[in-house]
């Protein structure tokens, strides 16, 4: 009869094997959790994960805010007042949503800068850069529309000004501003539109693009990783050696 400890260990092993066999969870976790990053600038390679974390926070706290937010011109401001002053942990939840949104913009900027400076946008990773540009556009519009959802003087006028800027678009200015305002004046229809954008359309566009962004990252790996350097450098060295050898030969012939 095996000891209790040995039996417990065996049971754990059996359970893990059982799950692995049916769902592949263990190997999937290993695949998702471990990704080699370059030795040089190692911490800078966490900025993408930080962005993902902050976006996840946005989704979670955003869902929670929807429990109290009322997307009508009459009630929007008051419902936020309620969240901030009366609902338990309301200030905390909205605080996380607000400040992590601010941090998100900064972290995305840093992430983009790291990608640019490390040359990670180069072949074969161009499409990941393109997807990233769409992501930053969406996040910017999300931040801007979130501002308007407060329906206070700041948010309201920010959206007005943004819509007004769009009105200067050549040829389609009139179409742009009336589409953004939901009419030729700002009113309840404007708020409905901003709400639809912020809560449904843009997050729905963001999620699959994040998926593609991650898929492409995993497909090509981080750029500049030592393994990649090693291969490329040895290739370069070989070519240089060859060249030098040829040059030396040529010199020999000329002599």
């Amino acid at each position: 009869m095996a000891s209790l400890r040995a039996r417990t260990r065996q049971m754990g092993r059996d359970l893990t094997d059982w799950m692995e066999e049916r769902t592949g969870i263990v190997s999937v976790m290993q695949k998702f959790l471990y990704e080699p990053v370059p030795k040089r600038g190692k911490w800078l390679y966490t900025l993408g994960s930080a962005t993902l974390f902050l976006i996840a926070l946005q989704f979670l706290t955003g869902i929670l805010l929807l429990f109290y937010y009322v997307p009508t011109a009459d009630d929007a401001w008051d419902s936020i007042y309620y969240i901030m002053n009366d609902a338990y942990f309301g200030q905390y939840i909205r605080g996380i949503h607000f400040w992590s949104a601010n941090a998100l913009i900064i972290v995305i900027g840093l992430h983009m800068m790291r990608t640019f400076l490390s040359g990670s946008y180069k072949a074969p990773r161009e499409m990941n850069w393109v997807v990233g540009v769409f992501l930053i556009l969406i996040v910017t519009i999300l931040a801007f529309s979130g501002y308007a959802l407060r329906w206070d003087q700041e948010g309201f006028w920010a959206w007005e000004v943004g819509a007004k800027i769009a009105s200067y678009t050549p040829f389609i200015g009139g179409w742009a501003i009336t589409t953004l305002l939901g009419g030729d004046t700002a009113g309840p229809a404007t708020l409905s539109r901003v709400f639809a954008l912020h809560v449904w359309l843009l997050p729905a566009a963001l999620a699959p693009l994040i998926g593609i962004h991650l898929y492409l990252l995993r497909k090509h790996g981080e750029y500049g990783a030592p393994f990649e350097y090693a291969e490329r450098l040895s290739e370069l060295r070989k070519q240089r050696h060859l060249r030098e050898y040829e040059e030396a030969e040529e010199e020999d012939e000329q002599e």
Partner: protein
């Protein structure tokens, strides 16, 4: 397989610390959102707060309640929900306090006009004794069915209060006589003024059922 994943073996102390830290972080992540979502339930159930402030609202006059039937009268309460923090300040106009209309079924006990009112003119003020007597004879009931809250009404043909949803039936006094409802109709807290006006409060009880919960839908 698990051993392979576990790269560094843990000591017992480390394991316990990890458990303690995990409990703390887990609590910090789950309790605030849960309490946040449960905010209305906490305020209503634990703190006994209501969306409707405690105030008397005029319903109608006892002189307008006919014999032999239950009439529906409307009363407007004020309702303060999430959009109103409940403390209107100087810069907040309170325009978002909106009316909550309740339909109230009013009838005389067993449909019989009380002797106090027989041949009496509306000009003459009611005495305290008369008002007490009337209070015992009048039924002031929420029209919400005690079953699932659908709006009930007086059926002239059947001479009873009926619910259109699942066939709940009540007599003229709001007592349950048939169908699925667990008890009779909810009754409002009310008072009758000297002029014979009925005032109601957004507070409810059920006859013979001291533990009946709130009607919620009205």
């Amino acid at each position: 397989m698990p051993e392979e994943l576990q790269k560094d073996p843990l000591s017992r102390g480390q394991f316990l610390w990890m458990g303690a830290l995990g409990t703390f972080v887990g609590a910090a992540l789950t309790i605030p959102p849960a309490v946040y979502i449960l905010d209305p339930a906490i305020k209503s159930v634990l703190q006994g707060r209501s969306d409707v402030p405690e105030e008397w609202k005029e319903l109608g006059s006892v002189f307008d309640v006919p014999a032999g039937e239950a009439v529906t009268q409307l009363v407007e309460f004020t309702q303060k929900q999430t959009y109103d923090a409940g403390q209107p300040s100087a810069d907040r106009t309170g325009t978002n306090v909106r009316p909550l209309t309740n339909a109230v079924l009013v009838s005389w006990k067993d449909g019989k006009l009380p002797s106090v009112l027989e041949g009496r003119s509306e000009e003459e003020p009611l005495t305290q004794t008369e008002r007490n007597k009337l209070g015992r004879k009048i039924n002031i009931m929420a029209n919400a069915c005690a079953h699932m809250g659908c709006p009930t009404r007086w059926s002239e043909n059947e001479k009873e209060i009926v619910c259109p949803c699942h066939g709940g039936i009540y007599d003229i006094n709001g007592e349950h006589t048939g169908g699925p409802p667990p008890h009779g109709l909810w009754r409002y807290a009310f008072r009758i003024s000297e002029e014979g006006d009925i005032f109601v409060k957004h507070q409810f009880h059920v006859k013979h059922e001291p533990k009946a919960s709130k009607p919620y839908v009205v």
